[in-house]
């Protein structure tokens, strides 16, 4: 079983603060981390590798320093890593990103499953997984809360949707996007950390995966950001200070309406 896990390096959005006066992001001191949702995809891939044998390869597209998240994934237990990095990749939207990642998967050959997190916490689009599936012309199962079974030909997974859960069977190869519900990611092991320090991570650029400039990065992206603003918070709520009994009465008024009296 060869499983590729597509991951992303993201700014830790929980550390991002707003400069109220200028209405801009305060980026200073915000660490770059492995997208939390991708940890669940990685764990799921490693869990099934441990059971069925095979390899887990992590890939990411990003600037040279994105290599750090690949090493982190190797420390957690991934077998190999590939960095897709090229100045021409910069500015990619989800179309160009999934296009590039899919080309890398194609180059690897013999991949059975691509797993990735439900979404990345910086963009929150959840579009790259299905985009990879479309590029490869593979089936896809998104929002997977549990993988029940993987065998030579099929995967059976639970897809969490509004109001319930679909039990889906798909043929292999397939692209799976994984939810937080799926598992608890393992911590890096000592052996993994040692391997992560030593492992050579190949860097593939545009030409290595047979792409041209008009299908990657900003030039290959159908969408473009034209404006960024910080959301205005309207602060006109009424704040009550009083004894607990009085506050409770006000809350019940708010909940039931005064006619409830």
């Amino acid at each position: 079983m060869r499983i590729v896990v597509a991951v992303k390096q993201v700014p830790d959005t929980s550390e991002v603060r707003i400069d109220e006066e200028r209405g801009t992001l305060i980026r200073e001191g915000v660490p770059s981390i492995l997208n939390p949702f991708d940890e669940y995809a990685l764990e799921e891939a490693m869990k099934w590798r441990d059971e069925l044998g095979g390899t887990v390869t992590v890939i990411t597209m990003g600037p040279p320093q994105a290599e750090a998240v690949l090493r982190e994934a190797v420390a957690m237990g991934a077998d190999e890593a590939v960095l897709l990095s090229d100045r021409a990749f910069a500015g990619a939207d989800t179309w160009a990103t999934s296009h590039t990642l899919a080309k890398a998967v194609e180059k690897m050959g013999d991949v059975d499953i691509v797993m990735t997190g439900k979404q990345a916490i910086d963009g929150d689009t959840a579009q790259t997984g299905p985009g990879i599936a479309a590029s490869l012309d593979w089936p896809q199962v998104t929002f997977v809360g549990k993988v029940r079974e993987i065998n030579e030909d099929n995967i059976i997974a639970e897809r969490y949707v509004e109001g319930g859960c679909e039990i889906i069977r798909s043929t292999l190869p397939v692209v799976i996007t994984v939810l937080k519900d799926a598992n608890t990611p393992r911590l890096p092991s000592l052996r993994g950390k040692m391997k992560a320090r030593k492992i050579e991570i190949p860097v593939w650029g545009m030409e290595d995966i047979d792409l041209s400039g008009d299908e990657v990065g900003l030039d290959g992206s159908p969408t473009r950001v034209v404006k960024i603003t910080t959301p205005e918070i309207v602060s006109n709520g009424e704040i009550h200070h009083a004894e607990p009994e009085e506050l409770a009465g006000l809350i019940v008024d708010a909940l039931l309406g005064k006619e409830g009296e």
Partner: protein, 397 residues
């Protein structure tokens, strides 16, 4: 290759661009902004510069005859034997967008049995309903649905295609957009037509809700977007509205699928999906223990509501993940959201700020939740909530 450039003659070295960069790629060198390799060309600095000194250049791709595309197409979604409310919201929004240039609003319905639904879509704003009816379309399946919609888009050439940002829309739309080589914007909360270009301005929260990004798809068509449910407003249904119905001819190949829905397991009783709840009583770090959530459950039961939680409470193991509201949990829009012992960090706020009404109980007067709630109550939730429960019971007697 696309490039980003700082115009040396225009840059005044004010530094306003530095904090605008989510990736920390800008620094000042001798009073000039310098952009390093961690730049992803997201465009944040370009709009932060008051002097127009930062310019991103692209080599525009061609091939789309944009003028041939017109109208707004809405992908309808069914759930529990009904047209999902999000579809009606999309039709309302499509009507408003269509006002700008009088373009046509269409709805696409793929289903096992349509019954009265096309008429319902018409009364909510569709000028034309494209219908595919087949027993194999009972459950949503990615491949047949995307293939049928793709073929229809190629044939009808809509300028805009909208779907709800549900698990269905977010599965279907990226696949279609990739295959049609066009742009897709996820989870939009605002759509407007640019009066200058006639293009669709698509606005959505990003970076954990810290920013709002406006995105365009200038050179390819259709312009595709998924739209956050319960943000857009429906129009008043009008049964006298006239619309056309056009059947989509299906070929056996259209219905081929490599995935199969073996079973659908609805949520069990008491296992309510918080995204559907009208009242949510939510707890955070201030709850202090798993046992204390029983208090919120009691209140939620009295109000026919569900219990939600912030990430802090989930991470502490007090309540399971399906209850999590916020960026890495669920986005909810109940009529009433009662936040108990929740500070209101931005990651939580983005998951619940569209609630019709937010009540907050917190000991800490300076908690951010008091900055955006509708009514705030400063006090100890362990004193107040039991009194609320008692008072509700008393008044209902």
């Amino acid at each position: 290759m696309a490039s980003i450039e700082v115009r040396k003659d225009t840059c005044v070295g004010c530094g306003a661009c530095i904090p605008s960069c989510p990736f920390g790629a800008i620094s000042m060198v001798e009073d000039l902004a310098v952009i390093d390799d961690s730049c992803t060309m997201c465009g944040a600095c370009e709009s932060s510069c008051s002097y127009g000194a930062i310019i991103i250049r692209t080599e525009e791709a061609g091939g789309f005859e944009i003028d041939q595309y017109s109208g707004i197409m809405v992908i309808a979604e069914q759930r529990d034997g009904e047209i999902d409310h999000s579809t009606l919201e999309l039709l309302g929004e499509a009507r408003r967008l269509a006002e700008a240039d009088g373009s046509e609003v269409s709805a696409v319905l793929l289903t096992e049995k349509a019954g009265e639904w096309p008429a319902r879509l018409t009364s909510y704003g569709a000028d034309i309903v494209y219908l595919a009816e087949d027993s194999q379309l009972k459950h949503f399946r990615t491949e047949p649905f995307s293939r049928i919609v793709e073929n229809l888009i190629v044939e009808k050439k809509p300028a805009v295609v909208l779907a709800a940002a549900t698990t269905t829309g977010r599965d279907l739309m990226p696949r279609i957009a990739k295959n049609l080589n066009t742009g897709l914007t996820a989870d939009c909360t605002e759509l407007t037509i640019d009066p200058k270009t006639g293009g669709l301005l698509q606005t959505r929260p990003a970076f954990g809700g810290n920013i709002l990004a406006t995105i365009v798809c200038s050179n390819t068509r259709p312009q595709m977007a998924t739209v956050r449910p319960r943000v857009m407003k429906t129009i008043d249904p009008d049964d006298a509205r006239k619309g056309n119905l056009e059947k989509i001819n299906l070929s056996p190949e259209d219905l081929i699928s490599r995935t199969e829905v073996l079973e659908f397991e609805p949520l069990e009783e008491g296992e309510i999906d918080i995204t559907e709840a009208e009242v949510i009583v939510s707890g955070g770090r201030g709850l202090k223990s798993e046992e204390n959530f029983a208090l919120l459950e009691e209140l939620a039961d009295l109000l026919d509501g569900s219990v939600g939680a912030s990430r802090a409470a989930i991470d502490a193991g007090w309540i399971p993940y399906p209850h999590q509201v916020g960026q890495t949990g669920k986005t909810v829009q109940p009529k009433t959201y009662i936040a108990c012992g929740i500070s209101g960090a931005v990651q939580h706020r983005v998951g619940m700020q569209s609630s019709d009404r937010i009540l907050a109980v917190n000991k800490d007067e300076s908690a951010p939740i008091f900055e955006f709630c509708d009514e705030g109550f400063v006090g100890d939730l362990f004193e107040i909530i039991p009194l609320v429960i008692k008072e509700i019971k008393r008044r209902r007697k």
